[in-house]
């Protein structure tokens, strides 16, 4: 899976592209582990170029969040389509991920006090 990354201040924006399924899950997990190793703990995952997310993809997001939370960071989500938003809600992941309607809002959320 192709994952574009961009650093904006103290925030790293990752943009996975295509299908986020079992085949692609390890690519995302490895990318996030590399971010953690490089001290990048404030992540935004831009899902606007993801065409399908299945349970393996959702599981990879949970695994990524655990890696980053362990380091005191967080992952914020942006750009999910309606079907993916419904999937987040179906398996209750909207309780552990903050989801934003714009990438700038997701980035700025890391500036909030206590974040």
């Amino acid at each position: 899976m192709k994952i574009i990354d961009e650093i904006v201040g103290k925030v790293t924006v990752l943009q996975p592209q295509g299908l986020l399924d079992f085949v692609a899950a390890d690519s995302l997990k490895n990318k996030v582990k590399n971010c953690a190793m490089n001290g990048q703990f404030n992540l935004v995952i831009d899902m606007s170029k993801v065409t399908l997310v299945d349970s393996s993809g959702m599981g990879s997001l949970v695994a990524c969040l655990r890696v980053i939370k362990k380091e005191g960071g967080d992952i914020r989500i942006y750009g999910i389509k309606d079907q993916v938003r419904a999937l987040f809600e179906l398996i209750r992941l909207h309780h552990i991920f903050e989801i934003f309607d714009s990438v700038s809002a997701a980035i700025e959320s890391f500036q909030r006090p206590g974040k």
Partner: protein, 140 residues
């Protein structure tokens, strides 16, 4: 009588390399047949269910021979789509699969729950030679 409009079968070695072939075929198949009044998200829901079911069929047949096949059978009727996914693994007890522990946010175990949520009917038969998951989605 419920007439079959299109009937398509894909058979492949139980290898993740072929997952995208099947999910892509599912999308094209549904989009080709699509009628103006079918439910919103029909194509996305079927693609998701096919991805989940094929991932399970490939991953959970490790006890099967390396030459074991997965067979995906799409049938579009006037009123519904039927997708059957068959594998040669040892199978599982469909009735004993429990819901995920949502409050613990596990990293896996959501597949069957998602399939049941996005499809209208889901059945499973465990056979001596093949196990088959049958999924139906109504067109109207």
């Amino acid at each position: 009588m419920n007439t079959v409009l299109v009937d398509l079968t894909i058979q492949f070695l139980r290898n993740m390399e072929y997952l995208h072939l099947v999910t892509g075929t599912s999308r094209v198949f549904c989009e080709t047949i699509m009628e103006p009044d079918i439910p919103k998200n029909f194509v996305d829901d079927v693609e998701l269910a096919v991805s989940e079911a094929c991932t399970n069929a490939i991953r959970h047949t490790v006890d099967a021979d390396a030459s074991a096949m997965v067979i995906v059978h799409f049938r579009m009727y006037e009123t519904e789509l039927v997708v059957e996914i068959s594998d040669q693994g040892s199978g599982f007890e469909f009735a004993e699969v429990v819901e995920p522990a949502f409050d613990q946010h596990p990293e896996g175990g959501y597949g069957l729950y998602i399939i049941k949520s996005v499809m209208d009917e889901v059945h499973y038969t465990r056979g001596e030679e093949m196990n088959t998951l049958t999924m139906k989605k109504y067109l109207k």
